[in-house]
Amino acid sequence: MRRWMSAFVLLAVFVLIWQAVASIHGVDNLTLASPLETWHSLKVDRALLISNMWVTLEEVLLGLGIAVVAGAGSAILMHLYRPLRDAAYPLLVASQAIPIVVLAPLFVLAFDYGIGPKLAIVALICFFPITVNVLDGLRSVDPELLKLMRSLRASRVATLVKVELPAALPFLFSGLRVAATVSVIGAVFGEWAGADKGLGRLVLLGNNQLETPRVYAGVVILTLMALALFALVTLAERVAVPWNRKETA
């Protein structure tokens, strides 16, 4: 409870400073909308913001889903087949160095205007943290435990299913936490490259139309979305990995 309190206090201080800076005479309110103006926009444009939020949320969730399946799947394949890991690891790292902003318009060309390119971009940025973490998790198993499984004459599949996969589960959640936060950024980039709906597009449009408070309102909702996803992953981890729960004071 105290942790929540301190986070709340820090947020309040931040909002106050934000309001103070925005109120300084000479600060252009086209550049910086104050918290109050943002709040006003959140109320007035509520319907618009919410309907666009659902679009972005769908992109984020589906993209994350694809990344989990593809990421965990390739991590397992790379773990089971060493030459594949050696061959694919540099590519995996390289995939992360590609500037998504540059790639996004190409995806739009390739997949057309619909949800396709957004999913591709979200999945692409989320793929890396998930794959790398699951791979680390699969390799984290105590060598002594693998020796024990060998002496029990466990098959490769049995060792994977009974020992390595459960051991990798906390790592999957670590990867998911990182992925959840970057996934929202991915969806925004995807929408910037070409979209007719979604929060990212709304923010871009607001910029062009000098609707600064609406831009800020969109950013606030995007941030809340990332926070909510993060919290959801943490909650899911508590349910799925009860043996790994860290004691919190």
Binding site: R150, S151, P166, V241
Partner: protein, 269 residues
């Protein structure tokens, strides 16, 4: 209900009086500083249902010896035969290996952890494995801990579960690698008595590795003392007391004291 865990039928087991034979066993490890010999010509014979304790200073290759018998490693020279199996792969089928740490899976309760050994046999489902493991928990006084998770169990309890897992593998030869090394001395004493009882009701051929001479003499029919690295057998002692033993009667017996003296002398070289 008395449930015996069936050991896989092994033709040579019923014929051979000697369950495990180790002859001229050599094993060296390649390290950055060169070749490090761990075992240099170890000879041992273990009779069926005999408990042999191997004591030696740390780093004398005791664990290596167990892994070689278990079939987890191949020797550089010499031979190992366990229950008629010569090849490492076949030895894996007749030996159950209990590592130093309990290595219980934190996401499985005690019963499921022990049942893991059964699940690894082809065609035994999780539920079936639990069903088969339950009577053993009953018999060894662990019934109330069946559903406890490893983090809820004491060190001694965890070792008991790990031992049941070893037993459930259903192999004629048990290889125990310092099973009580991590326990405090009181728990360790209780565990020794528990193990002695368990082995009396589930007789197996046992090789027990330990660095504690008293533990070795209390639990084993015979004690082999290894020299510092590279390990060789420098002394073999017969312990002329029937198992399971009463600790106070055994430990205070002059014969026991004499054996301990000899073992310690052998250890000091």
């Amino acid at each position: 209900m008395q449930t015996r865990i069936e050991a896989p039928a092994q033709e040579p087991l019923s014929l051979a009086k000697t369950a495990v034979t180790v002859a001229g066993l050599r094993r060296a490890y390649r390290t950055r500083r060169g070749v490090l010999p761990a075992l240099e010509g170890v000879d041992l014979q273990i009779r069926e249902r005999e408990v042999l304790a191997v004591v030696g200073p740390s780093g004398c290759g005791k664990s290596t010896l167990l892994e070689l018998i278990a079939g987890l490693q191949e020797p550089d020279g010499g031979s190992v035969t366990a229950a008629g199996a010569h090849e490492a792969k076949q030895r894996l089928d007749v030996c159950a290996y209990m590592p130093q740490r309990d290595l219980l899976l934190p996401w499985r309760d005690a019963l499921a952890n022990a049942a893991l050994a059964l699940e690894c046999r082809r065609g035994v489902s999780k539920a079936e494995a639990r069903r088969q493991a339950a009577p053993l928990f009953e018999r060894f006084g662990l019934a109330e801990f069946e559903r406890s998770y490893p983090n809820e169990l004491s060190g001694g309890m965890r070792q008991r579960v790990a031992f049941l897992r070893t037993l459930l593998a259903g192999r004629p030869v048990l290889l125990l690698d310092e099973p009580f090394a991590s326990l405090d001395s009181i728990t360790r004493g209780q565990m020794q008595e528990w193990l002695a009882e368990a082995l009396a009701s589930e007789p197996r051929t046992v090789v027990l590795v330990t660095h504690d001479t008293e533990e070795a003499l209390f639990l084993a029919d015979r004690v082999a003392v290894l020299s510092p690295r590279p390990g060789r057998v420098v002394e073999e002692l017969n312990v002329p007391f029937a198992r399971p033993r009463n600790r106070r009667d055994t430990v205070t017996d002059p014969v026991f004291a004499g054996l301990k003296q000899r073992a310690l002398e052998a250890l000091e070289g």
